[in-house]
Structures are given as structure tokens and as C-alpha cells.
Amino acid sequence: MKAIVAVKRVVDYNVKVRPKSDGSAVELTNVKMSINPFCEIAVEEAVRLKEKGVVNEIVAVSVGSTQSQEQIRTALALGADRGILVQTEDELEPLAVAKCLEKICNKEEPDLVLLGKQAIDGDNNQTGQMLAALMEVGQATFASEISFTDDAVTVTREVDGGLQTIKLKMPAVITSDLRLNEPRYASLPNIMKAKKKPIDVIDVNEIGVNVDKRVQTIEVQLPPEREAGIKVENVSELVDKLRNEAKVI
């Protein structure tokens, strides 16, 4: 079975982001960039499936800037076999990314496409769903457990109010949730080996999809600071404040 895993380069989860001084975008100079944590979980899952003998080839695909090769290398170090970068210096919207991925999937014909449920930069949570629709295959989003039987895959999904288990025919698109697994560390020997694994770089203009922007960013601002809480002396004061100041009861 062949698996494609999508990986995205994003601002590290632990960086406190700030807008640029002109408010045009998020400040990225001197900021630590990492693989999107949900993508990392997707890669880990693919590698575990490979270790179990379910998957025999893993292709890590990224749509992004030249530097996204670093994140592909991370995926290769964790156990992916080769990489593809659809290179663009622009920031693409989810639909454009999904279209690029679709083109790659048409060529690669994977049985399984694994993505993170969302990227933590835009928090869009759209690419996986759009890709499944474009490919006209089944989708299982927010996966917390995946198991295989012959030509079908059973996925436990984290939904509001509990867990839902669904069964899909392959090929299928699955997006990972946080509890699917805990990714391993990239070992230095594996990173060195990963340097020898191939990465194909394709220019986004050569892939033949329309990546025009449909949304225009007008301004990026910090959210308003939260006001500090207050302490009340007793329950009656609390009730009084809720009733007369906050007017919620």
C-alpha cells in the first residue's frame, strides 16, 4: 500500500506570534519554523503503518516555499521514503493546496492520503476535506485511531460529544487529530540517511492549477488584551455582580 502524507511548514507552536509593524502580516523574521504538529502526527502514523507492514511506501508532500524542504526532511528522517515539494513563494489558500495535492495524487495513485486535521497557522481545517472531494474518495477527519481490513479502513473520529467509528473504502483521505499518536524524535542517524533520500521539486506554475487568491488580508492585529479578573469576597457578592454588572443571570 502506498501512502501520501502532506506536511506544512508553520511558525512553531510555542512561538508567541506578533504582527509586523505595518500590520500587513505575521512577523516571520528570526522566528522558529517547524513542521505543523498535526502533520507530524500524520507522518508518525504513516511510519507506524509501514513498521506494521500495512504500508510499503511513504511519500511526503509539501506545498510551500523552498525552505519547506526542511520539513520534508523531517518527515524523511521520521521514516518517509521520498519527498515532493510543490514550490511557491506565495501563501496558498486551502483550495489551491488541495488542488496541488490532487494533481500529485493523480500521478502517484496512493491508497491512503494522510494529512493533519488543520495547520496551526491559518487554523482553516479545510485542505483534507477539499482534497477528498476533488479526488472523489471517502474522507475520515479528526482520526484518533486507524485500523485496516483487506481493502477497507476503519477510523475512530473525535467528534463533538464523543467518538464516531466509520469504515471507508480505499483510496481514502484521513486527517489526524491530536490523540492519534505521539510522534517520535528524529534520530541523528536517520536524519543523515534522510539527506540521501530524494526530494522532487516542482514549480507550482508547472502543475497546472489555478492558485489565485480569493481572500485578501486587510490587516493583522493582536487580539485585544483580556482584562484581569476580579476577586469577590463571598457568594452573594458574586451573584450580585453576575446579575447587576455582567447581567448574565
Partner: protein
């Protein structure tokens, strides 16, 4: 009227406590050997009150234990002999952050972490850091000249002190160095108070130097086969990389931490020792790590390694080292915190491991520490069948032979934790009789009635 009520009359009863639970908790630090038994705990809120307390103690011959966050590891803040504990908890205000001077002025009871956070909020950095920074106080850090995980790059607490305000043992209020960068006007008393372990006076305010925040960092953990190889790996890292930190721990330490916290091991292959290296996250540094790794593997110094791919992973790898002390605490470890010059490290380690094999064959020994600074923490875990006192007296015995060895290597019996009660008997292995006598004379000048921290340090 008894003495405590009289004191309450002087500084207000709301600032004095003698309830049992507070007496016990304020009577001890992180050592597990002594039980707290102070007469009372006082919480001054101003210099005036602090001075009144010291004058009162002089008048009534009360012994005083200055007390910070009580995270100390040598019994420096222990009060087990009817002393008066002077806690700096209530003098905890950050008074100024000066962006022109790049400095922060804070009362002694502000925690190390609060200083770090305040610096970060102003896009600056206070580099002294270690696992207890959430509780340890800046006054305690100065009184112990605390080190920690960034010493290799930034030095000890001493390097970051611009000015100090203290009340001496005789009750004088001194403003030391006035936060000047340059001030060659004779003896610099500030440096006497740094590392004085509360024996000369009580520090009530300090001005600390701040600096540029470092670039984001990357953390590597290497598996190392032999003790002596650690210094080889250190040499190679230092020659090729800008190293922020170079720490080590043994496999027992890792297993205990991983077991206690359900952490992921860095890699599956087990090694007797691990080195943790922190670097600046730049492309050149990360590329060079691979060269370092290959070189070390070629020379058969290391067997396996990982490198963090995100800040989360860097932190998780750090926790493997930082959580050791707290994890071991439950086993009442006997701690040795020793150092030698880095160039003598390899031979020294060899001799120390022979000594421990000979003397503690049945004890679980846990090694870790700041090996990049020539500093190792040698912890002996207490077997369940020995009482605390039996265990301590046995370890004290072995400490004497360790002391002889340290003396031979001209090393230190206490690299960063201080002397306090725990290492007092060993002081002579690191300091000559003449030096110790001079220290005693100096103490007499600042604390003529010997009210401060009696029985500690000298």
C-alpha cells in the same frame, strides 16, 4: 513577655508566625536530613522592619536564619535550633526595569522566574536558570551565587549583579556598587555578599543586568558509552559549535525520570551516559551538528543521537535532564556537587568512579550535571533499610575520601549549591586553613555578635 511577643510588638503581630506547620516548613530547605525547629518566622515588608528585626536580634542575642525560596540543597536555610527565620517572601516587588541600563531592580523575595518573565516581557533576557527557578528567590540566588544550565555561555549569578542593598549583621544598611558598570573605588563588598550564604547580612534588593534574548535553540541528546568520552564529546562540540549548554546524565537517571513521568526515551538504544547539548538554532549550527555527530560516531564516542525538530521537542528533551533532581528527591539522595577544571575532568571522572565503585558497591549512584562547566552532581540514593542518620553518617565518611581526591585535583567540594550545614566538614578540602580563618575575620566585621546563620559555611 516572651521574646516572640516582644518582637511582634516591634514589627506587628501580622508579620510574625509561630504556627507549627509554618515553623516546620520554614525551618527546612530541599535537603531531607534536618527537621525544622525555629522559634518563629518573621516576614519583613520594608527595609525599616528588616533593620528593626536585626537590631532586635542583636539586642536579645537571637540567632537569625535568612530565608529565600528554601530550594537550597545544602541546608543553608535550615533552622533546627530555635532560630528566628527571616523570610523574604513579603518583600517581593519588582521596582524598576530600566531599558537604557538594561537592568532590573527587584526586592530579594522576587522569584528567579518572575525576573525571567519580566525581562522577556521587555524583550530582554535574564540568563540564570535551573529547575527550581519557579520557587527560588533572587536573594537566595545571590546568597548562593547560583549557577544552573546556562553557565557555560553566560556564567554564574555573580556575573549579573550590578548592585545590592543589604542590612548587615550589625544592622547597617549598605548600598553596594550603586548599579554602576565601572566603579574602581576600592574593595567591592558586593562580591563578598554574593555567595555569602546569609552569613554577613540580609540582601533585601538587587539590581541585575539583563541582556539580548538568545535566538531560538535546538537541543541534541547523544548516547555516550563511557564516562571519559563525555569530555571528548564536549571538546569536539566546543571546537565546532556555539554551545549554550552541555549537560550529562547517566542511564539510571534517565530511567527514573522517564518512569516517573511517562516521558518518551530520546532513542531506543540504551547508553550508560547521555550528553544534552543546546545550540542556537541557525542553519549553520544545525548543519554542523551533523558533522559533529559523524565525527563522534567515527571516533566511536557516541552511539546514537536525536535533535529536536520543534520547541516542544527541545523542551521535552530538556525535561529529561531538568526533572532529575525532583524525581530523585523522593529517594532522599545524598548529594555531592563537585567540580574541577575542565582540563582535569577526564582523569578526575576516572578516579571518582573507581572511588565510588569501591565505597558504594551496593548503593544506587546517579550521576548527572553541568559537565560543560566541570561540574558533576553525584547522588547516592538512600536504601530503604537504612535510617536517614545511618545513611548520612555513612555518606559523610565516604565524602571524606572524595574530599581528599578533590583536594588532590584542586577542585571544589561545592560547585554551585554552597556549603551550608551539609558541606561544612568538607570545606577544608577546597579552602586552606588560612583562608577559612580570614573568612571568619570578615564575618566578625559584618556580624560582630554572630547572629546570622550560626553553624553554617564556616
Amino acid at each position: 513577655m516572651d521574646i516572640v511577643s516582644r518582637l511582634a510588638g516591634v514589627i506587628g503581630s501580622e508579620n510574625v508566625s509561630y504556627c507549627d506547620s509554618e515553623l516546620q516548613s520554614y525551618g527546612v530547605d530541599r535537603t531531607t536530613i534536618w527537621e525544622g525547629n525555629p522559634k518563629a518566622v518573621v516576614f519583613p515588608r520594608s527595609v525599616k522592619q528588616l533593620q528593626d528585626i536585626i537590631l532586635f536580634a542583636n539586642k536579645y542575642s537571637l540567632k537569625v536564619v535568612p530565608s529565600g525560596g528554601r530550594t537550597g540543597l545544602c541546608g543553608g536555610a535550615v533552622a533546627n535550633n530555635s532560630e528566628l527565620v527571616v523570610s523574604m517572601d513579603k518583600m517581593n516587588i519588582i521596582k524598576e526595569i530600566n531599558l537604557d541600563d538594561r537592568s532590573i531592580t527587584a526586592e530579594a523575595g522576587v522569584t528567579t522566574q518572575q525576573i525571567q518573565v519580566a525581562a522577556a516581557e521587555n524583550h530582554l533576557f535574564y540568563p540564570v536558570d535551573f529547575a527550581s527557578s519557579g520557587s527560588s528567590q533572587i536573594g537566595g540566588n545571590i546568597a548562593t551565587n547560583a549557577g544552573g544550565i546556562n553557565v557555560i555561555r553566560y556564567g554564574m549569578t555573580r556575573n549579573w549583579i550590578l548592585g545590592l542593598r543589604v542590612v548587615t549583621g550589625s544592622g547597617d544598611i549598605l548600598n553596594l556598587n550603586k548599579s554602576l558598570v565601572k566603579n574602581n573605588t576600592g574593595y567591592d563588598f558586593r562580591h563578598l555578599f554574593i555567595g555569602s550564604e546569609g552569613t554577613l547580612g540580609i540582601i533585601y534588593e538587587a539590581t541585575l543586568q539583563l541582556t539580548e534574548p538568545p535566538k531560538p535553540s535546538t537541543v541534541c541528546v547523544f548516547g555516550v558509552e563511557k564516562f571519559a568520552y563525555l569530555t571528548e564529546v564536549l571538546k569536539i562540540c566546543k571546537s565546532m559549535l556555539q554551545v549554550n549548554a552541555f549537560e550529562f546524565f547517566c542511564n539510571n537517571a534517565l530511567s527514573r525520570v522517564v518512569g516517573a513521568h511517562q516521558y518518551q526515551r530520546p532513542f531506543d538504544t540504551e547508553s550508560p551516559f547521555y550528553a544534552l547539548v543546546e545550540l542556537e538554532n541557525t542553519e549553520i549550527e544545525t548543519e554542523t551538528v551533523f558533522e559533529v555527530y559523524s565525527k563522534c560516531v567515527d571516533e566511536k564516542l557516541i552511539t546514537d543521537g536525536v535533535i529536536s525538530q520543534s520547541i516542544d521537542q527541545a523542551r521535552a528533551l530538556w525535561r529529561l535532564r531538568e526533572d532529575i533532581s525532583e524525581t530523585l528527591w523522593h529517594f532522599q539522595p545524598y548529594k555531592n556537587d563537585i567540580s574541577v577544571r575542565i582540563s582535569k575532568m577526564a582523569d578526575f571522572l576516572n578516579d571518582v568512579s573507581q572511588l565510588t565503585q569501591k565505597n558504594y558497591p551496593d548503593f544506587e549512584i546517579i550521576w548527572y550535571g553541568h559537565i560543560g562547566d566541570g561540574n558533576i552532581h553525584l547522588n547516592i540514593l538512600k536504601p530503604k533499610n537504612l535510617s536517614t542518620l545511618q545513611f548520612k553518617s555513612f555518606c559523610d565518611g565516604v565524602s571524606m575520601s572524595l574530599g581528599e581526591l578533590i583536594s588532590k585535583y584542586e577542585g571544589s567540594i561545592s560547585a554551585e549549591h554552597g556549603v551550608g550545614l551539609l558541606k561544612k566538614e568538607s570545606l577544608r578540602f577546597s579552602r586552606s586553613e588560612d583562608e577559612i580563618n580570614l573568612m571568619k575575620s570578615i564575618k566578625k566585621i559584618f556580624d560582630p555578635n554572630a547572629i546570622l546563620n550560626p553553624g553554617k559555611l564556616i
